[in-house]
Amino acid sequence: MKQAIYGLLLYVFLMLPPVVTLLESIMSFHMHMQMPLLIIAGLLMTPFLQKKFPRLFEKWNQNGVPGILLFTIIMIYWMFPRTMDEALTIQAVQVFKFISLPFLAGVPLRDSWRKLGGFGKNVIYVSFSIMFGFMGILYVFSESQLCNNYLIVEQKTLGWGFIALAVCIIIYFIQLLFIDESEYE
C-alpha cells in the first residue's frame, strides 16, 4: 500500500506543469527520464492493482507472456521519433503517454516479471539491448533531424544514452550468466 502511494505521488509529481516543461525541454530527459519515471510510477502502483483486480491479472496474464508483449509493444511505440513529436504537439497523444507508460507498460512489466521463466527474462534482456543499441546507432549516425522538436545535437546525445543503456543491460545480463547469485545466498 505504501508503495502504491509513493507511485501515485510520483505520478502526480510528473504531471505538474513545471516538471513536464523541464523534463520535455531536453530530448534525453524526455525519453530517458520522464518516460522511465512514468513506468516506475506504474511499477510501484502494481501491487495495489493486483490486490484490487486479482481476477483480471489471472485471466489475462496467466503465464506473463501477454503482459510482457503489451509492455514491449508500448515501449516500441514510444521509441518512434514521431510519437515523441506528437506527444509535444497533440494533447491527446500526451494524455496517452501518461496513461500508457505507467498502466500499459509499468503494470504489466511487474506483473509478468515474476511469472516469466529464466528463458523469457533472457529473451527480454537480449532483445532490449539489441533494440536500444540499434536505436543508439540510429540516433547517433542519422544525418537528418528525426524529431521536429529537438536539435540534432540532442538527438546524438540521446543516441549515446541509448548505447549506454544497452551496455548497462548487457553488463547486467553477462554478470547474471557468470555469477550464480544462488551460490552466494
Binding site: L22, F29, H32, V153, K156, T157, G161, E185
Partner: protein
C-alpha cells in the same frame, strides 16, 4: 584445501596479523607519512607567504609550492593511506591476503612511486606549475601527465587486488555476507575506479597535446572530465573515513554496530550516487545551461542524504552506548564517552568538524551562493575542514591502534597523552586556519593567489589580519603534523612490544539479519553506470559536438 583455508583464517585471528601483510601496510603508511611531512612543510611555507611574512625564492615560487602541496597531500598521501588501510582491513577480516593480492599491493606501490617521481620532478623543475587541478589550457611538461597516468595505474592495480580478495573470499565462504569492513573496501575502490575513468580520458588527451602532436585542446571538456574525478575522490576519502566511524569507533567506545543493513545501504548509495556530483565544482563555468547545473546540484545534494544517515547512526550509537553505561538525562551520555582515549577523540573531533564542513558544502552547491564564494579562500577553507580535519583526523585516529596492531606493539598512556595533544593542536590549528579562510573568503580574498596588496588597495589591506590568523593556524598544523609523524614512527619501531586488537564492532544482540540483496554488486555497478551516464551524457555530447575551436597551450609562469 578448504579446511586448510579455514585453519589459516582461525590462526590468523588468534595470532594476529600475517607478517607479510603487515610489512605491506606499514610500508604504505611510512611513505604516506613522509609525504605528509613534505606536503605539510610546503603548506606552512604557503601559509606564511599568504600572510605576507615570507617571500619565497624565484626558483621555488608560491605556485610551485601550491601545486606540490596539493598533489602530494590530496592525491598521493590519501591514496597511499587508503590502500594501506584497506589492505590491512582485508587481511584481518578475510583471514590474510592471498599471495596474488599481496603482489598487486606491491605492484600498486611501485607504480604510484614511479608516478610520484615524475610528477614531483617536473614540478620542482618548474615545468608543471599548473596547480593540482592542472586545468588546460595551462600546459605542463608531458612527463607530468605521464606521471599522473602511472599513479592512476597504481590505483587500478590496488583496486584489482581488492576485488580479487573479495571474490576469492566469497568463493570460499558461500552464502555469507562479506565482512563489513571488506564491504567498505569494495565500495570505496569501486567508486575510485569509476571516478578515475574520466580523468584518465582527460590525461590521455592532454599527453599528445603536451608533446605537440595535437595543436589544441577542448578546455571545457577537460575540466568536466577532471571534476568527474575530483569530486569523487573527495568522497572516496570520506568513504574511507566513515568505514572507521561505522565499524571501529563503536567498538572503541564499548558499543555495538548501529545496523549492519543501514551501513551497507549507505555504502551502496555512496557508490551509485557519487560521480555526477562533480559538476557543482563547475557551477560558474560558462558553456552549460542552467537546467544541467540544476540537475547536478540535485545529484550533489543527493549525496548529502547518506551522509545525514551516517550522522544519525553515529550519534545513535553514542547515545545507546552511553545509556548502557548508565547515563541519565537528555545529554548525560556525552559524559560517558571516552574523551581521554585518543582512538576515540580524534575521529570524534573529525565527526564534529564534519557538521560545519558538510553544511558549508551544501551552501556552496547552490548556484547563487557559489557565485559569491567560488574563487575565494572560502573554498580553500571548506576543503581544509572536510579533508584536512574530517578525513585526516580520522586517519590519524586509525593510526593509534592499527600501527601497534601491525607492528605487534602497544599504545602506551604516554603516547595516548601525546596523541591527545596532537589532536587538539591539529584541531585548533585548523579552526584558526580554516576559520580565517572562510571569513576572509567572504570578504573577497581570492584563492590560488600568492600574497599581494594589489597596490596597497584598502580592501586588500583589510584582509591582512585574517591572513595572519591563517598563518598562525598553519604553524600550529605544522607542529601537529610533526607530532603525528613522530607518533607514527614511534609506534612502528619504538613502542613496547605487546598485543593490540583490531577493533571491529559486533552487531547488537538480536539484530535483524542483513538481507541478501545488499550483496548484489552486479546490480550496483549497473545502476552506478546508469547514473553516471545520466549525469554526463548530455553535457559531454554537447561539449564535443558544439565545441569552440580548441585552445593552444599557455604557460602562465
Amino acid at each position: 584445501m578448504a579446511a586448510k583455508k579455514v585453519f589459516k583464517e582461525k590462526t590468523n585471528k588468534a595470532l594476529g596479523v600475517n607478517p607479510d601483510d603487515a610489512r605491506l601496510t606499514l610500508t604504505y603508511f611510512s611513505l604516506a607519512f613522509i609525504i605528509l611531512f613534505i606536503g605539510g612543510t610546503l603548506g606552512l611555507l604557503q601559509g606564511l607567504n599568504r600572510a605576507g611574512l615570507l617571500e619565497l625564492p624565484a626558483w621555488f615560487n608560491y605556485y610551485q609550492v601550491l601545486t606540490a602541496h596539493g598533489i602530494l597531500l590530496i592525491l598521493i598521501f590519501t591514496a597511499l593511506f587508503m590502500v594501506g588501510y584497506f589492505y590491512a582491513a582485508l587481511s584481518h577480516t578475510l583471514g590474510g591476503l592471498i599471495p596474488v593480492v599481496r603482489k598487486m599491493g606491491w605492484t600498486a606501490l611501485g607504480l604510484m612511486l614511479i608516478g610520484t617521481a615524475f610528477v614531483v620532478t617536473t614540478i620542482v623543475m618548474d615545468e608543471a606549475t599548473v596547480l593540482y587541478t592542472f586545468y588546460p589550457p595551462m600546459q605542463a611538461s608531458p612527463w607530468f601527465y605521464i606521471g599522473l597516468v602511472f599513479i592512476v595505474l597504481g590505483v587500478w592495480a590496488a583496486t584489482i587486488g581488492v576485488f580479487t580478495s573479495a571474490a576469492s573470499w566469497k568463493k570460499r565462504n558461500k552464502g555469507e555476507h562479506l565482512p563489513l569492513l571488506a564491504f567498505f573496501a569494495v565500495g570505496a575502490f569501486l567508486l575510485l575506479f569509476f571516478g578515475s575513468i574520466g580523468v584518465t580520458i582527460e590525461v590521455l588527451t592532454l599527453i599528445p597535446w603536451a608533446f605537440g602532436w595535437t595543436e589544441t585542446v577542448n578546455v571545457m571538456l577537460s575540466r568536466t572530465l577532471f571534476w568527474s574525478f575530483g569530486h569523487t575522490l573527495v568522497n572516496v576519502w570520506y568513504f574511507t573515513a566513515i568505514s572507521a566511524w561505522y565499524v571501529i569507533v563503536p567498538r572503541i567506545i564499548g558499543g555495538r554496530l548501529f545496523s549492519d543493513t543501514l551501513t551497507r545501504v549507505v555504502v551502496v548509495l555512496l557508490v551509485i550516487l557519487n560521480v555526477p556530483g562533480g559538476f557543482h565544482h563547475q557551477i560558474i563555468d560558462p558553456g552549460f545551461t542552467e537546467g544541467l547545473k540544476f540537475m547536478h546540484v540535485f545529484m550533489s545534494l543527493s549525496i548529502a542524504f547518506p551522509s545525514l544517515m551516517t550522522a544519525f547512526a553515529m550519534f545513535a550509537v553514542f547515545e545507546r552506548t552511553g545509556r548502557k553505561k548508565g547515563a541519565k538525562g537528555l545529554f548525560g551520555w556525552v559524559k560517558k564517552l571516552p574523551w581521554g582515549d585518543v582512538r576515540f577523540l580524534a575521529p570524534m573531533i573529525a565527526m564534529i568538524a564534519f557538521i560545519p564542513a558538510g553544511a558549508g558544502g551544501i551552501a556552496q552547491t547552490n548556484n547563487q551562493l557559489n557565485q559569491v564564494v567560488h574563487n575565494t579562500l572560502w573554498v580553500t577553507g571548506h576543503f581544509h575542514l572536510t579533508v584536512g580535519t574530517t578525513v585526516v583526523l580520522t586517519f590519524f585516529g586509525i593510526m593509534y591502534w592499527l600501527i601497534p596492531y601491525l607492528s605487534k606493539r602497544e599504545l602506551t598512556p604516554k603516547i595516548n597523552k601525546l596523541g591527545i595533544i596532537q589532536t587538539i593542536t591539529w584541531a585548533v590549528g585548523m579552526l584558526f586556519m580554516s576559520g580565517a579562510m572562510h571569513w576572509v573568503g567572504l570578504l573577497g580574498s581570492p584563492r590560488r593567489t600568492s600574497y599581494t596588496t594589489y597596490g596597497d588597495n584598502a580592501t586588500a589591506l583589510s584582509w591582512d589580519p585574517y591572513l595572519f590568523f591563517l598563518a598562525i593556524g598553519g604553524t600550529l598544523l605544522f607542529i601537529g603534523g610533526g607530532l603525528m609523524i613522530y607518533i607514527v614512527f614511534h609506534l612502528m619501531f619504538k613502542a613496547p612490544k605487546g598485543d593490540t586488537a583490531f577493533p571491529i564492532a559486533e552487531p547488537e544482540d538480536g539484530a535483524s539479519p542483513t538481507p541478501k540483496w545488499t550483496e548484489r554488486w552486479g546490480l550496483w555497478v549497473v545502476l552506478a553506470i546508469a547514473v553516471i551516464s545520466m549525469g554526463y551524457l548530455v553535457p559531454i555530447v554537447d561539449l564535443i559536438f558544439n565545441a569552440p575551436p580548441g585552445s593552444p597551450p599557455f604557460r602562465t609562469w
